[in-house]
């Protein structure tokens, strides 16, 4: 039997992949699954669903959930609108421009999220750089409120999450065979028709993956909404943190976390379904 020389003898046969996967699995079980179970137990402590009842009946809390989903949806939509052209640029540009583009895209990744958020506070503040430019150019006469409101949160979150949208789309675009577009053109399609009928559908898996990623990350976002929202924009993660830190309401915070987890899983499921139908 020919075997590649690099194969480690221990990993021969069926149990090989299992062995390799075991360590990370244990790691995940201890550090993720156990805490989640602990959280679940905490939320139903005393054998009562009171915490959940409070979460779904209190108008304030429902409002927070609604706000969170709204912000996550807008962030996802804006990211998608920005990411698609960026990904297209990266997929079609010359190698030098691809490198420059990737560096700009990765730069935020390598910077602490706190630093980035504070940088946005400087830019977006009442006397911040952006307002000064807008006034100097005469677009507005009064400073625009860009900080400590939903706008600020949206700008900050889109900035942080954009790469998560760009990369899946970019890689989907790289996989599209250029001949398909030439073929469509040769068969009589205009530039727009080539895009709508061939390129876009073929990059939809990337769009779906990016959308799922950004939406789910948005739902649980904490630092950016906490700082750029200035306490005026409350997303679920901020609410949970308040419950634990300020009110020591561990049970209620756990119930909110579980609800967030369920909502996230449902969102993932829904997106998956849409993705399946597209590529069926």
């Amino acid at each position: 039997m020919d075997r590649p020389a690099w194969r480690v003898p221990v990993l021969r046969g069926e149990q090989g992949p299992v062995l390799v996967g075991l360590l990370p699995l244990l790691f995940l079980a201890f550090l993720f699954l156990l805490p989640v179970i602990r959280l679940l137990l905490l939320s139903v402590e005393g054998g009562t669903l009171a915490h959940f009842e409070k979460a779904v009946s209190g108008e304030l809390y429902v409002q927070v959930f609604f706000e969170t989903f709204k912000i996550a949806t807008i962030v996802t939509a804006v990211s998608l609108l920005l990411a698609y052209p960026v990904a297209y640029f990266l997929a079609t540009a010359s190698p030098r421009w691809v490198l420059i583009g990737l560096v700009f895209l990765m730069l935020p990744f390598w910077t602490s999220i706190l630093v980035r958020t504070y940088a946005w506070m400087i830019l977006l503040g009442r006397n911040g750089v952006l307002n000064q430019i807008l006034i100097a150019l005469g677009f507005v006469s009064e400073p625009v409120t860009l900080l400590y409101n939903v706008t600020g949160v949206l700008i900050g979150m889109v900035h942080v999450l954009l790469p998560y949208m760009v990369f899946p789309i970019y890689s989907a675009m790289l996989r599209v065979d250029r001949d398909l577009m030439l073929a469509a053109e040769g068969l009589g399609a205009s530039g727009w028709q080539v895009f709508w009928r061939v390129f876009l559908p073929l990059t939809m898996p990337g769009v779906m993956a990016g959308t799922a990623l950004v939406f789910i990350l948005s739902l649980g976002f904490y630092i950016t909404p906490a700082l750029l929202g200035g306490g005026r924009v409350i997303m679920i993660a901020v609410l949970i943190e308040q419950q634990v830190r300020q009110f020591l309401e561990w049970g209620f915070a756990s119930a909110l976390s579980i609800l967030l987890l369920i909502a996230t899983l449902l969102a993932l499921l829904a997106l998956n379904r849409m993705g399946w139908r597209r590529s069926a």
């Binding site: 398909l180 030439l182 073929a183 068969l187 009589g188």
Partner: protein, 391 residues
């Protein structure tokens, strides 16, 4: 539309101009009547690399013309220019008399089968074939009707709802073909479409394409590096090398009367011997080889005494001479190698005068094949020895 009449005219004159008198040297002259596709002085370079160095090519209506050449000869670039995917640096592309050099691919109305088929993976077979019709805003009912008949034409009726990835290579090829002809293009381009198929399927598809082409009366320009394929499929072969067309002609003509050493070498197998013309009287040349032997060639273009020429001898041209037989050119040698190639046997012969010769004789069951080490006398008449310029 102004091109309607000229297109019709081109078609009619194309038919009338079908009979072309062979030139004295055996080469068919380019037809003086307008062709369906006509390329004039097409040039293209990428940076300092010259891909096409002035291509002239006419594709008569209803014919299959093959561009045959090794990779890097510029044949794919030429096809892309015809399709409109690339613009030439210079020259003119005319389709049915209209200058389409700078017309977008979408408005050219040319069908193309890509090397890897380029079927849309997210569309079903029927959607793939309907695509060009939808782009032309055909009515739904007619689209459906045409898709059905195109699928029937390529023998894939009932495959409408499949996705390309659920089809075999040969079936994908048929879908690509159906998609390329369903909108009744004036010209069909095929870019090495059989490369990915196994031999048997390839031969079957070649015959099928030829049948379809005849049945639909479509004109086809076909690119390949496979000389056997070119010989099977084409009405006319254009042999390309280094961005130039070396020779254009019917398969038999290109095979038996290659215009230069490259063509002789590229198409089929050849024994090529270098020599100098020692006497020339009309079309009869005597050529002295470096081995000292003198051979006679008939039917060649007149060449001056002293000219350096290559003598091309196809492996099936010579025959074995029995005692007492005599013919214009005779040589002898010892068999060095015997290779069975199915219906024939190839012998590599070390010539007594020096040099080698490969001969290929049909295999007959009642005839004992020769063995390695046997001596043979071989001969062939002068008109089977083809002369090309050495340089």
């Amino acid at each position: 539309m102004s091109n309607g009449t000229s297109a019709a005219a081109a078609r009619i004159s194309g038919r009338c101009g079908g009979s072309e008198a062979p030139h004295p040297d055996g080469r068919v002259q380019a037809s003086p009547v307008p062709s369906l596709l006509s390329l004039t002085a097409i040039a293209k370079s990428y940076g300092s690399v010259i891909a096409l160095a002035g291509i002239d090519l006419r594709v008569p209506d209803g014919e299959i013309v093959t561009i045959l050449g090794p990779s890097g000869s510029g044949k794919t670039t030429l096809l892309k220019i015809v399709a409109g995917f690339e613009l030439p640096d210079a020259g003119r592309v005319e389709l049915a008399g209209d200058d389409i050099t700078y017309v977008t691919p979408a408005s050219r109305g040319i069908g193309m089968v890509f090397q890897n088929y380029a079927l849309f993976p997210h569309m079903r077979v029927a959607e793939n074939i309907a695509f060009p019709l939808e782009m032309r805003r055909l009515a739904r009912a007619e689209t459906q009707e045409r898709v059905t008949s195109a699928l029937a034409l390529v023998g894939l009726a009932g495959y409408e709802a499949r996705y390309p990835r659920q089809l075999s290579g040969g079936q994908q090829q048929r879908v690509a073909l159906a998609r390329a002809i369903v909108f009744e293009p004036r010209l069909l381009l095929l870019d090495e479409p059989f490369g990915a198929l196994d031999r048997k399927l390839r031969e079957q598809m070649q015959l099928e394409v030829k049948r379809l082409q005849r049945q639909l009366g479509i004109t086809a320009l076909f690119v390949t590096h496979d000389q056997e394929e070119a010989l099977v499929l084409s009405d006319r072969i254009a042999v390309m090398n280094g961005g130039l067309i070396e020779q254009i002609g019917a398969p038999a003509e290109v095979y038996s009367r290659p215009s230069n050493r490259f063509v002789a070498d590229f198409i089929g197998e050849s024994n090529i011997y270098r020599g100098k013309v020692t006497s020339a009287s009309g079309q009869v040349l005597r050529v002295a080889l470096s081995t000292g032997q003198t051979l006679v060639a008939r039917g060649a273009t007149p060449r001056p005494v002293g000219a350096e020429v290559g003598l091309v001898l196809r492996p099936e041209a010579p025959s074995e001479l029995l005692d007492g037989d005599t013919v214009e050119n005779v040589t002898s040698g010892v068999i060095k190698d015997v290779v069975y190639v199915g219906d024939a046997i190839k012998y590599a012969i070390q010539l007594d005068a020096g040099g080698q010769m490969v001969v290929r004789w049909p295999f007959r069951q009642n005839l004992r094949p020769h063995n390695v080490g046997e001596s043979l006398r071989i001969g062939w008449p002068g008109d089977l020895l083809h002369v090309v310029d050495w340089s």
